[in-house]
């Protein structure tokens, strides 16, 4: 049977048992006890082969998340000396491309992590294998579904089969520099912007200009990469009543709602003059650097680990003059962001025995969520159970706000032409923000591009 020690299962929730069981687990976790929850009946239990096996596993680079994954996988191979894992990582933008090329040449890894927005890309081409939730410790797909964030479910489950095992999923918060708020006579609690109009007004007050140069921008949208463009624009589209695609699959971002959304997106610079889209110190692709260096007072960002803040701005971390709050909405009742995240997946071409070991490895990696939290906080987990009740989680600064951003977040459009969509939107935003293009025209061009990509995809 299962060769991994019972303690592997300590944090593994079994959601089908309902709240009481979950509470028990929470309490167990709280005590830090290694007490085991009886292993769920696994008919097809993961049976790591005793024969030597070499797996390849790829992930993306992040200073907290990648080392933690590496640590857990190393722990797994130490337990199973017959298994070797070749662990490789790439930049956020390169990973998807590398995996694609890997598939083309038969050099794709056996397992890898992927953004949830790319799931349709892999699924449409049958590149990833369905997972057996029982091997992951869940009695049924339904139980598995209930234990995870909507954004995850929306990308990873197809025709009743589960194709991804989620790790981190998170929303964006509006990170305020509370010192700068107080400086201009604003209260970070009472005056935090609830709507984009308020954001514009507040940002305007926080802005300091010297001639044509912003000494401080009030708020800043990232201009660096398609992915950031999408994360920040997606909720505004949804809040404006827009949608990316209609039922027939036609891109509808250029309709009235889309234009309204882009007008909101552009207003901070165009209407309030509170940001300079062409000016960022982060000529390196780290848009949050402006906020960390206090050259912008508010920034919409994924959870930022305190260690990251400390490394860039020790005073800000030590004195704690920052605070994440929910993003503003188009109206005050719609303060939500994009929720997105990362899944473990398995290469459909991997041999069966390797697939089984990968199941077992993923289950092991995710079996200690509090350890994960401690290493990577405040990157929130997609799993509902098994971590939020732990005191070490509960006592984390601003944790409720960050978890709320995840829970309220809307997810990305699910499309197999994601890369084309993101690139087209990125170009549209550049045209509007940097070259003062007409919003409707820019969105028309983007929608036409996406439709062409969709048509071609359907043909192939």
């Amino acid at each position: 049977m299962n060769t991994s020690p019972a303690s592997d299962d300590a944090m593994l929730a079994r959601p089908d048992t309902g709240m009481t069981r979950r509470e028990v687990i929470g309490r167990l976790a709280a005590l830090g006890a290694g007490a085991a929850v009886a292993a769920a009946p696994r008919r097809v239990a993961a049976q790591p082969a005793k024969a030597p096996m070499k797996l390849t596993f790829w992930t993306w680079e992040n200073p907290q998340q990648r080392p933690w994954l590496h640590k857990r996988i190393t722990q797994y191979t130490e337990k199973h000396p017959n298994i070797k894992v070749d662990f490789q990582w790439f930049t956020f933008t390169d990973l998807g491309k590398k995996v694609s090329v890997g598939y083309a040449t038969g050099t794709a890894p056996d397992g890898f992590t992927t953004g949830d927005w790319l799931m349709p890309t892999w699924l449409a081409r049958n590149l990833i294998a369905p997972l057996d939730v029982k091997q992951l410790g869940y009695p049924s797909v339904d139980a598995f579904r209930k234990d995870h964030a909507d954004a995850f479910i929306a990308g990873a489950i197809q025709d009743g089969k589960v194709y991804g095992y989620p790790i981190w999923f998170y929303g964006f918060c509006n990170y305020l520099n509370t010192k700068q708020f107080k400086e201009v006579g604003l209260d970070p609690e009472r005056d935090q912007p609830q709507t984009y109009a308020q954001l514009g007004e507040v940002a305007k007050r926080l802005t300091i200009k010297q001639g044509n140069k912003f000494a401080r921008q009030g708020f800043k949208f990232a201009m660096h990469a398609p992915q950031w463009t999408m994360i920040q624009f997606n909720p505004i589209v949804v809040q404006s009543g827009g949608q990316w695609f209609d039922k027939a699959g036609k891109c509808t971002i250029n309709n009235e709602a889309g234009v309204r959304a882009m007008t909101v997106r552009a207003s901070i610079a165009r209407q309030y003059g509170a940001e300079d889209p062409a000016d960022s110190i982060a000529t390196a692709p780290l848009p949050q650097m402006d906020w960390l260096k206090e050259r912008c007072a508010m920034f919409s960002c994924h959870p930022i680990p305190p260690v990251a803040i400390k490394s860039q701005n020790p005073a800000m971390e030590a004195e704690g003059y920052y605070r994440p709050v929910q993003l503003p909405g188009v109206t005050a009742d719609k303060r939500y962001s994009t929720c997105y995240g990362f899944n473990f997946v398995i290469n459909a071409n991997a041999p069966k025995d390797k697939q089984e070991v990968l199941h077992d490895m993923y289950r092991f990696v995710m079996s200690d969520l509090v350890d994960c939290w401690q290493a990577t906080a405040p990157f929130t987990l997609a799993r509902k159970s098994g971590w939020t009740d732990d005191p070490r989680v509960k006592s984390f600064p601003h944790v409720q706000e960050i978890i709320r951003a995840k829970d309220q977040g809307v997810f990305f459009p699910r499309t197999p032409v994601w890369n084309e969509l993101a690139d087209a939107m990125h170009r549209a935003v550049q045209k509007v923000m940097l070259n003062n293009a007409d919003i409707k025209v820019a969105l028309d061009e983007a929608a036409a591009e996406v439709d062409r990509a969709t048509a071609e995809f359907k043909k192939s």
Partner: protein, 276 residues
């Protein structure tokens, strides 16, 4: 031509030339000086040509943030291999095309020259598939392989060797020298300047490769420094000043080669004529 100008006007001209040179060198100086600045300086976007406080520790810090010693080692191995490959094969082919009149020689020359229209950027995907068929994905030979011979180098060598009097070679043949011996003893010694040009260009071109290694390598063990340098900027919190330090270090090998070959280069560039 020197006698055209003399006295004050020559001095003026020299000053103008120096100013012109400065325009070209300024970005390089900027890179070097920035690499010694505190990380914060970069964010203030002010230019301080001589750092008020020197930060030589940027260099060891930067090297320690990723496997840069390994990346540089890989780059040196690949570039040295590419340099040697070009020196050997371009010389052989250039010599063969310049001094042997076998049927089809012209055609072969055209065939080789035509590859100038097929840079790696154009044939990236199928070349990758070839390397994959050879089982060289994720290996140093995979990076170096398609770069080992460059048509321009063949052309350079042929044009140069054409100028070596054939009489020398025939005389040697009469003396009973073999073909390889003639190449080694008579042709090569005269080729030194052009070989220096070829060595520098081949090394530099391989040293600069980014897209090809990006496509062919997915393993830290085989990454070359340009991949590491670009990734360095995308990693959280890596100071741009340290990125500049890596950039400076990356300039050194080609610079050393340039210094080493300088004497030969001077006549090489003058003589090779680089002309169609």
């Amino acid at each position: 031509m020197r006698q055209w100008l003399a006295g004050p006007s020559a001095l003026l001209g020299l000053l103008a030339l120096a100013a012109l040179t400065a325009v070209f060198i300024l970005p390089i100086i900027w890179m070097v000086t920035t690499s010694f600045q505190a990380g914060e300086k970069m964010f203030q976007l002010t230019t301080e040509w001589i750092p008020s406080v020197w930060h030589p520790e940027n260099y060891p810090n930067a090297m320690g943030r990723a496997a840069f010693p390994l990346f540089f080692r890989n780059s040196v191995i690949v570039s040295a291999a590419v340099m040697v490959g070009n020196l050997v094969f371009c010389t052989l082919a250039g010599y063969g095309l310049a001094k042997y009149r076998f049927p089809g020689a012209k055609l072969l020359l055209l065939l080789i020259l035509s590859t100038l229209m097929l840079p790696l950027e154009v044939t990236l995907v199928p070349t990758f598939l070839v390397i994959h068929k050879l089982g060289w994905v994720n290996s140093l030979q995979g990076i170096a392989g398609p770069l080992l011979i460059d048509a321009f180098g063949v052309f350079l060598m042929r044009q140069f060797i054409l100028k070596i009097p054939t009489d020398y070679l025939e005389a040697a043949r009469i003396d009973g020298a073999g073909e390889l011996r003639i190449l080694w003893k008579i042709v090569l010694p005269q080729c030194r300047p052009v070989l220096a040009v070829l060595a520098l260009l081949a090394f530099r071109d391989s040293w600069d490769q980014f897209l090809w290694p990006l496509a062919v390598v997915s393993h830290d063990d085989y990454r070359t420094y340009p991949l590491g340098l670009v990734r360095f900027g995308e990693d959280y919190g890596n100071p741009p000043t340290e990125q500049m330090a890596i950039a400076v270090l990356a300039t050194i090998p080609v610079f050393l080669l340039f210094l080493l070959l300088q004497r030969a280069l001077r006549s090489g560039f003058g003589l090779s004529g680089l002309k169609g």
